[in-house]
């Protein structure tokens, strides 16, 4: 909010004729003084970021140490890039990277476009009551925890008593498939869960963007003889394009986040080979195994990749003539 306020209030100052350099220095202090309350309002926010986001980064140093809690951050021995070397040359790295990236790819292909499609479909609905109730119904799953989603999945797909599993079995016949345990069904189930849980919530922002489209544009298009499809293609889609781009850039930063809880809850002995991703690996190594340094190194690697992806996609968006995020 502060960023919205400051330029507005500052406008008269910026609009005034450019002062000479000596004058400028004099004017700068009063300027700061003049907006001192706004700066003060900024302080808690800044303090939050410093205390909870920047100071903890000091702990990242343990990625380059052999951290033993008893010896503390400063007392532990420096080991340089040992943990990174271990990660990149270890037997797990290839599998983890592949699993993480494949899940990310599936997410982009199926989960990212889903809210856009649903929002567009909802937008075409003319009965307002129906539109609103559908909208509410589809975003309820967002508020359920992953534990509940995983339990529901087991109830529906379990080989012994799964309702849907039995229904499919009755339809197709043949041998019963154990959807929750089999490695082949792990990724489809993960994508299905994501779709069910997140699609509705994702539509909110697109619906807001759609609501902002000037209805005069549609009227004009109709006068010019544009059909539904033409209106959609030339008005609706361009109108929400910036929103899609921003959402895409933000999503790209989270590509390496496969959603720890979801993956962890769905992992079994049979599907571990395809289920292990960086997030669960960090948990196993760090919390279960107590190798804090190694786990931090893995987490740091993940973070770096996330940053590269954000900047990369932002750059790409600008290159393609869209407004980037920054």
């Amino acid at each position: 909010m502060a960023t919205d306020l400051v330029p507005e209030v500052a406008q008269p100052a910026a609009g005034s004729p450019r002062p000479a350099s000596t004058q400028r220095r004099k004017r700068r202090t009063p300027n700061f003084w003049r907006y001192r309350w706004l700066y003060l309002l900024l302080l808690p926010g800044l303090a939050y970021f410093v205390v909870f986001k920047y100071l903890p980064m000091y702990g990242l140093t343990i990625a380059f140490k052999d951290y033993v809690p008893f010896l503390g951050y400063s007392g532990s021995e420096w080991v340089g890039l040992k943990h990174f070397q271990e990660l990149f040359t270890g037997p797990d790295f290839g599998r983890l990277l592949f699993n993480t990236l494949l899940l990310a790819l599936l997410t982009i292909l199926f989960v990212f476009p889903a809210p856009i499609v649903v929002a567009l479909l909802l937008n075409e609905l003319r009965v307002n009551v129906l539109k609103r109730s559908v909208q509410s119904l589809v975003y309820i799953p967002h508020f359920l925890s992953w534990t509940i989603v995983a339990s529901l999945t087991y109830l529906l797909f379990s080989v012994d008593f799964g309702v849907i599993a039995n229904w499919i079995h009755g339809l197709v016949g043949g041998q019963k498939t154990d959807y929750v345990a089999q490695a082949d069904w792990f990724r489809p189930l993960i994508v299905l869960q994501l779709l069910w849980k997140q699609t509705g919530w994702g539509t909110i922002i697109y619906l807001a963007a759609l609501a902002g489209v000037d209805s005069q544009l549609y009227e004009a298009a109709r006068v010019d003889g544009a059909g539904r499809w033409r209106q959609f293609w030339h008005i609706t889609l361009p109108a929400i394009r910036p929103t899609i781009v921003v959402m895409a850039i933000l999503t790209s930063g989270h590509l390496m986040d496969s959603g720890f809880e979801q993956i962890w809850l769905m992992t079994t002995s049979l599907n571990r080979d395809v289920a292990d991703v960086f997030d669960t690996f960090v948990y196993y190594i760090g919390i279960t195994q107590g190798s804090f340094s190694y786990a931090t190194a893995v987490g740091l690697f993940k973070g770096v990749v996330g940053v590269v992806l954000i900047f990369g996609s932002n750059f790409l968006a600008k290159r393609l003539g869209q407004r980037g995020l920054f």
Binding site: W37, L40, L41, L43, P44, A47, Y48, V51, F52, L55, V68, P69, F70, L71, G72, G90, P91, D92, Y154, S158, V159, D160, K176, D178, V180, A181, Q182, A183, T268, S269, L270, R272, D273, Y284, I285, I287, T288, Q289, G290, S291, F292
Partner: protein, 516 residues
């Protein structure tokens, strides 16, 4: 003056900043020093229900006995391992902590000097002195005693079987693995519940959360077949149990069970918390687990139908295909009480803490921790404790504090040292209880002990988690038919290649050094 006057805003902003800063600092500034430990003892242990009130009657009675204030962090059992690891990583380690003395994070912390090495120091304290040499050896970490073990029966493995199903099909209790197979087959195909449908299976196995050699049904069956329990000697060297022909034979046999539908189809995913359900619902007829599951199931049947509930029988370990019996023993303990050096710095302070613990584990203390307060929540009748006044909510609270919490602090009580046994509620449970000891003593004669139990290989500490899952995962895959026997062998080789070779060498070296 309006609400948003500059001064007010300034004060509010300054206050909120200060608050943030204060909350950020309060995590670390708990400086207790060495002296305060003499009147207060901080403890962390497991919890199986709701946490006791620190001012509750039982805690006060315990505090009175030991002459110290107790500050106990109760952690639910399900998340204890994670919480213990996080606690070990913090700068706030409690004085006395229930830990798995073989877990990598504890071994690392202990070797860095975060915990007292108690080797040879416990003999001075009559109630802390190890009562069983085998168990004392098992609970060591590479020759060092880092804690006081919490004793458990040395053998608890058994098979729980539907008694009424056996009777209906005219079958005898099993003595060999072949008998067991025949029963499973009959339970699956001969309609033991008499509903005219083929909707039952023989054996119920859940998704096993532990690693290899963690008392899973698979581990028990492998031992019956003659495979080592964890580690075993082959050609003068210690080898992991899964690298033996007996391991493969046992799993080949179990695989046919799965193929013939004698095991619940969701054995790879069934939550172990719901293990009893298929048994009580009459879907499956056998469970291979600890003996106390028999009394648990008996209670569940009683809940369902108080008039007709004697439907459970318990059988001990079985003879393998070669006719010889090998029994699966337990470690004889469950976790140890370790003493951290964070606040207890000197030998005098350590002696003070050990004396306190010695009082806690005395006969009087054991009764408090295991039975409760005599005359309040139980009375003594012969050799048994009998619950009384249970309808009084205050007494109920004491009972809850005992059963769900304080019993976890006992190191001797659960095998009946000092404390009283609970009087069984009915004839069937009494008989079942009596069977526990008979079966245990019988099976201990053929118990296959794990010679490497007291050792932790440094390589396993360094990368345990990444390779610990290789073999148990491959075993499940093989049983479910997802991989072939050659692929299972390839996975065992993968274990060796990912660090297992080093682990095997280190275990052999450690064992040779210990003169084992």
């Amino acid at each position: 003056m309006t609400i948003f006057s500059p001064r007010r805003i300034a004060v509010a902003a300054a206050l909120s900043t200060a608050l943030l800063a204060a909350s950020a600092c309060s995590g670390g500034g708990d400086d207790k020093g060495g002296q305060a430990a003499s009147t207060e003892l901080t403890v962390m242990t497991k919890l199986f229900g709701t946490a006791p009130d620190p001012n509750g009657e039982l805690q006060q009675a315990v505090e009175k006995l030991i002459g110290k204030k107790l500050k106990i962090t109760w952690v639910p059992n399900a998340e204890y391992g994670d919480k213990a690891n996080v606690t070990l990583a913090s700068d706030n380690i409690p004085d006395v902590m229930t830990v798995n003395e073989k877990s990598p994070s504890f071994v690392k912390a202990a070797e860095a000097g975060a915990f007292w090495d108690l080797t040879g120091k416990l003999d001075k304290y009559p109630n802390l002195k190890p009562a069983n040499e085998q168990t004392a050896k098992n609970s060591q970490t590479n020759g060092k005693t880092y804690g006081i073990y919490r004793v458990r029966p040395l053998l608890r493995s058994g098979i729980v079987i539907r008694k009424d199903w056996l009777a209906k099909l005219g079958l005898q209790e099993p003595k060999t693995v072949d008998d067991l197979y025949a029963i499973a087959k009959a339970f699956t195909e001969k309609d033991p519940d008499g509903n005219g449908k083929k909707d039952t299976y023989g054996l119920i196995i859940p998704k096993w959360p532990g690693n290899y050699a963690s008392a899973s049904p698979y581990d028990v069956v492998e031992t019956w077949f003659g495979a080592p329990n964890g580690w075993g000697e082959r050609d003068g060297k210690l080898v992991p149990g899964f690298d033996t022909p007996e391991f493969l034979a046992a799993n080949r046999w179990l695989r046919t069970w799965v193929q013939e539908g004698l095991v619940n189809p969701d054995f790879a995913t069934l939550d172990s918390a719901n293990w009893n359900d298929p048994f009580v619902q009459g879907k499956g007829g056998m469970i291979i687990d600890v003996n106390v599951r028999a009394t648990q199931l008996l209670d569940l049947f009683k809940e369902k139908n108080p008039k007709d509930f004697d439907k459970v029988t318990l059988v001990g370990n079985l003879a393998g295909p070669d006719g010889e019996k090998h029994s699966y023993p337990f470690t004889g303990y469950n976790d140890v009480l370790a003493i951290s050096k964070q606040h207890i710095r000197t030998d005098e302070q350590l002696d003070d803490v050990l004396k306190t613990l010695d009082k806690l584990e005395s006969k009087e203390g054991s009764i408090l921790l295991t039975n409760g307060i005599e005359g309040r929540n139980f009375k003594v009748e012969g050799e048994y404790a009998v619950p009384i006044n249970q309808e009084d909510p205050k007494v109920k609270a004491i009972q809850n504090d005992v059963d769900k919490a304080f019993i976890q602090l006992g190191t001797r009580a659960s095998v009946g040292t000092g404390a009283y046994q609970l009087r069984p509620a009915d004839e069937a449970s009494r008989k079942m209880r009596e069977k526990f000891d008979v079966l245990m003593n019988e099976d201990l004669k053929t118990a296959v002990f794990n010679p490497a139990l007291g050792f932790v290989a440094p390589t396993a500490v360094a990368k345990g988690q990444t390779i610990d899952t290789i073999v148990p995962d491959a075993r499940i895959k093989y049983l479910s038919g997802a991989i072939t026997e050659d692929q299972l062998k390839a996975q065992i080789k993968r274990w060796y290649d990912s660090g297992g070779t080093d682990i095997a060498k280190e275990i052999n070296d450690l064992s040779a050094k210990a003169g084992g």
